[in-house]
Structure formats: C-alpha cells, structure tokens
Symmetry: C2
Subunit: 112 residues, 2 copies
C-alpha cells in the first residue's frame, strides 16, 4: 500500500502549477477571491482558501495580477485582474502544459 502522505504529496505536486494557470485564465475577467475559489472548485481544481488567498497575494506582488477594491456594493471586495504580464505567463504555462501532455501521451504509448 502506498502511504497516504506520499500519495497526497505526489497528487498535490501534479496539481500545484495548474492552479496558477487556472487563476490567470479565470481572472482575465476581474473577480474577487471567494468567487474565484468557487469557480476553481466548480471547474475541478481542488484548491482551498488557505492556499488560494496567499497565492493571489503572491501573484499580485509578482505583477501577474492587479487588484482594486470595489466599494459600490454593501460589502467592499477586492477584485483581482490578470495583468499583461500575467497573460504572457498564462500563454507560456499553457504551452508548457500542452507540451507535457503530449510528452506523457507519447511515453504512455511507448511504455505500454
């Protein structure tokens, strides 16, 4: 039996990088953290709030997202938007992911 810890770590490592890409794609249209979280989970990205909020702050600090407070509604919310640099990174990660996908598909064929 594979230990649960090892299993969880390997699965998490596989997912980690895709969460960044998913955020950058979704935030091409500005949205706030909680709505993004629901959108990610609904799309099959298993991210929790404790991971997502620090990630958003990190991406903003890196200039990949911009943010703005929306105070028009009763509850002020911070909206995030993917920056031009963020779009460029999304394109790059997307190309990397596609390349990994075909490399894995080829390997699976070859090692069957």
């Amino acid at each position: 039996m594979i230990e649960d810890d090892a299993l969880a770590t390997h699965r998490q490592e596989l997912r980690r990088g895709t969460a960044v890409l998913a955020c950058l794609l979704i935030l091409r249209r500005a949205d706030y953290g909680y709505a993004l979280l629901e959108r990610l989970q609904g799309s099959g990205f298993d991210v929790d709030a404790n991971t997502l909020y620090p990630l958003l702050r990190r991406l903003e600090k890196q200039g990949l997202l911009t943010s703005e407070w929306n105070t028009e509604e009763s509850r002020p919310r911070k909206f995030y938007l993917t920056s031009a640099d963020g779009m460029a990174l999304a394109d790059m990660l997307s190309a990397d992911f596609t390349a990994l996908h075909s490399a894995l598909a080829t390997l699976k064929e070859e090692t069957r």
Copy 2:
C-alpha cells in the same frame, strides 16, 4: 516584465509533478539512473541529475520503485523498476493529469 525568478518557479511547479509520473511510466521496464535521465530529457521532460537522483531514492523509499544492482557488466549499475504500488500511483496521476487537462481546456474556452 515578469521577473525571471518568478517565471522559472511557476514553470518548474507546473513540471514537477509530471516528472514523477514520467519516471514511473518509463521504469515499467527496469533502467539505471543515467539512461532514465537521457530518456526523460529526450522525451521533453526538463529534469537534471541533481533533481532526478534524489527523486529516485525518495520514490524507492516510498515503495514506488524497487532497485537492484546489475553487476554483470564491467561497471555495476543500480537498476530501478516501478513496483505494483508505483503502477497504481502512475494510473492515479495519469487520471489526475487527464482531468486537469480537460479542466484547463474548458477554462480556456470559457475565458477566451
């Protein structure tokens, strides 16, 4: 401009989990570290020796690979082979990766 550090980290995070999967697939047929490294690089997985060798030891410790010294040739070499648990993990990671691939494809459509 995206900082090079941030860029490299995001790209590396996207690749990290797939290296494990690629090793488990390739090592369905026993092979030694250096041959595996060349095979990975030839298949488009950008892994270096400093990452691969500790990874192999970790996977062996987790029971996902087994190893055996081949001393028949002039230079003894440690051959690794994916275990039954390793095959099970490879199937799981493979299913996860396919799910992430379609989730990302859908997101790209929706956020175009």
